[in-house]
Symmetry: C2
Subunit: 361 residues, 2 copies
């Protein structure tokens, strides 16, 4: 068995020093083409996030951190390197605002932007723009490295939840491509697989943008992990046939009570899992939690263009004039989630006090 | 408000006399092109059913009845019109076998073929092949006309189940295109709409072949009934948001206990409806029942080519080599079905004795 991912570039990384740029896999081209693009302007980073060239809550966070650096280059280099701090901080605000507006649901985006802004504010008041940018690039690299590490820890914490021989169903992509490396939900699968367990993954194709068939199936195939692609609507039937012993998904934002927003369709999978008494797990880094929200009801849900559904394969598949409702996410209530796996451990049962305790808040 | 369906041809009809042919709407071309095709050979009828140019259990039944006539033409015309009865009945067997093998799940297919064969067997033993063919064409036309009538009756029986202002969710297409005219599940919607009730329909797009977005959304748009297209996986969320007050779907085969096979994804919708206490209705003609099967476990489920999922709409959307599981149907257990609406009335609760009573068996 060869592992084809040795030739796979990271989801995203920084090229060069402070005058460098963000390079990322253009995920809209997968699974048929593996192409990297270079983001050398703030606008190109915002465009890449908005149009899902980079997606997955942790990857969005890391991309946004580097996006802050890209956005500040003109205000911190050349003549400006030792120049106007006020202009630099004004540009920081503009940059953070532009990135924050790229997508509304992923908590990790706001978490990373807050962290970058805080790092800038912590700099000595005599620090030059050029000096602050050096520190911000270090901070973005720290976010990237931490993401690599915590995904491995999520894998280690979650792997014991999967039995040898288990069928595992997942929805959307919470794999290496949704993070800097290794993933969240798929980290659990990868770690179980690496520990010698035989795992078969049922992959929801995940309409409308097919992140399951395009990305998750591709990652599993690259790692030689048995994968079976199904239509989203077949998940309940596959469970009924006894093929699934656990569900593991990622999350884009988790409220203080454990309600978890994730790709549209996750809630439907959770209901089906409950009906078949199959454990339903959410795997996500602690940066996904938004403890300012008491429950999932206040999580903002991104509404996307109806053409993703009506013209999804480069071809019109619905009549002109039909109404379309295309929420990108739904919220799975905590009572349907058996455990949340984060880098600090397994939160079970999923309720406010247990979450606060594991997060140390 | 105009009703654009005045220009719409019937789903299928016979052209000419016994030397004529079956004409049907090629549903694979919708919603962008409304094209009729002429089936002048048995092979072309089998191909049209197998490749879903005509689909929907009642429409498959009517098409197969006409397919028997097409298949027998050479054995009952010209020199054979007054010729060899043995050769004619041998050809009848071949024709019925070929049509029966076109798709395995729709009960109405086998019901129509049985009825055509019975009609042939009932003919006087001195009847010539040409004479039997005349009677078989009459029988096929009777099946067609009965289907028109019973769909209207299904609509009348079902309409009172929908309240004014209701949001109604449906899966796949059980409309005029799934029958000769007017539909089964959509007949209920059409009849409620015609009675003056305001109905909004949430249309599951229905992967992999998108019968919801291509056909149901098209039919509703043609009739100016408010329709909102959603991804299949969004159905549970749409219910959670309080937008849906009833679910109505069709069926391809119903066992004696009320377990109902229908398009893959129906079971998932039924589970979500149950979780939200939304009534779930199945609308189907009595020819859909297979009382020889005690429960849904014995309903044969058609497995279709994985390329319907991996290469839907002319583009590769999954990596080469990934496994695919593509059952065309699933079975919704009777306990999730609040009522079955057939041409004889509303069967509620859904259980063996009530079904036998309404069907008069």
């Amino acid at each position: 068995m060869t592992d084809s991912r040795d030739n796979m570039p990271p989801t995203l990384h920084w090229v060069g020093s402070t005058d460098g740029h963000l390079r990322l896999i253009d995920q809209t081209r997968l699974p048929t083409e593996l192409v990297e693009i270079d983001c050398e302007s703030l606008e190109s980073v915002v465009e890449a996030i908005r149009n899902l060239r980079v997606r997955g809550a942790p990857a969005i966070g890391a991309a946004a951190a580097y996006g802050v650096c890209v956005g500040l280059q003109s205000a911190a280099s050349g003549a400006n390197a030792k120049g106007d701090r006020a202009a630099f901080f004004k540009r920081l605000d503009e940059t953070v605002d532009a990135l924050a507006a790229s997508r509304p649901t992923a908590m990790n985006l706001f978490w990373a932007l807050d962290r970058m802004r805080r790092r800038a504010n912590e700099c000595d008041e005599n620090e030059s723009p050029g000096g602050i940018l050096v520190k911000l690039l270090d901070e973005a690299k720290a976010i990237e490295q931490e993401d690599r590490d915590l995904c491995r820890r999520i894998g280690r914490h979650g792997a014991p939840l999967l039995a040898d021989g288990a069928g595992v169903l997942t929805h959307c992509n919470a794999g290496a491509l949704a993070t800097v490396d290794y993933g969240t939900a798929l980290a659990v699968v990868f770690a179980a697989h690496e520990s010698g367990k035989r795992i078969e993954v049922y992959v929801d194709e995940t309409r409308p943008l097919l992140q399951g068939s395009r990305l998750t199936a591709w990652e599993l195939t690259m790692r030689n992990i048995p994968a079976t692609l199904i239509c989203d609507s077949a998940a309940a039937q596959v469970m009924r046939e006894g093929r699934v012993q656990a569900v593991v998904v990622g999350a884009d934002r988790i409220a203080a009570n454990g309600d978890a927003a994730n790709k549209i369709g996750t809630y439907s999978v959770a209901l089906a899992a409950k009906a078949h008494a199959i454990p339903f797990y959410v795997a996500a880094p602690s940066s996904t939690f938004d403890l300012s929200l008491p429950s999932g009801e206040s999580i903002p849900i991104e509404q996307r263009d109806g053409r993703e559904i009506t013209h999804g394969f480069g071809r019109q598949t619905a009549p002109a004039g039909v109404g379309v409702y295309n929420p990108a996410f739904d919220v799975t209530p905590a009572e349907l989630i058996d455990a949340i796996i984060c880098e600090h451990g397994v939160i079970r049962p999923v309720e406010k006090d247990g979450i606060a305790k594991v997060l140390g808040k």
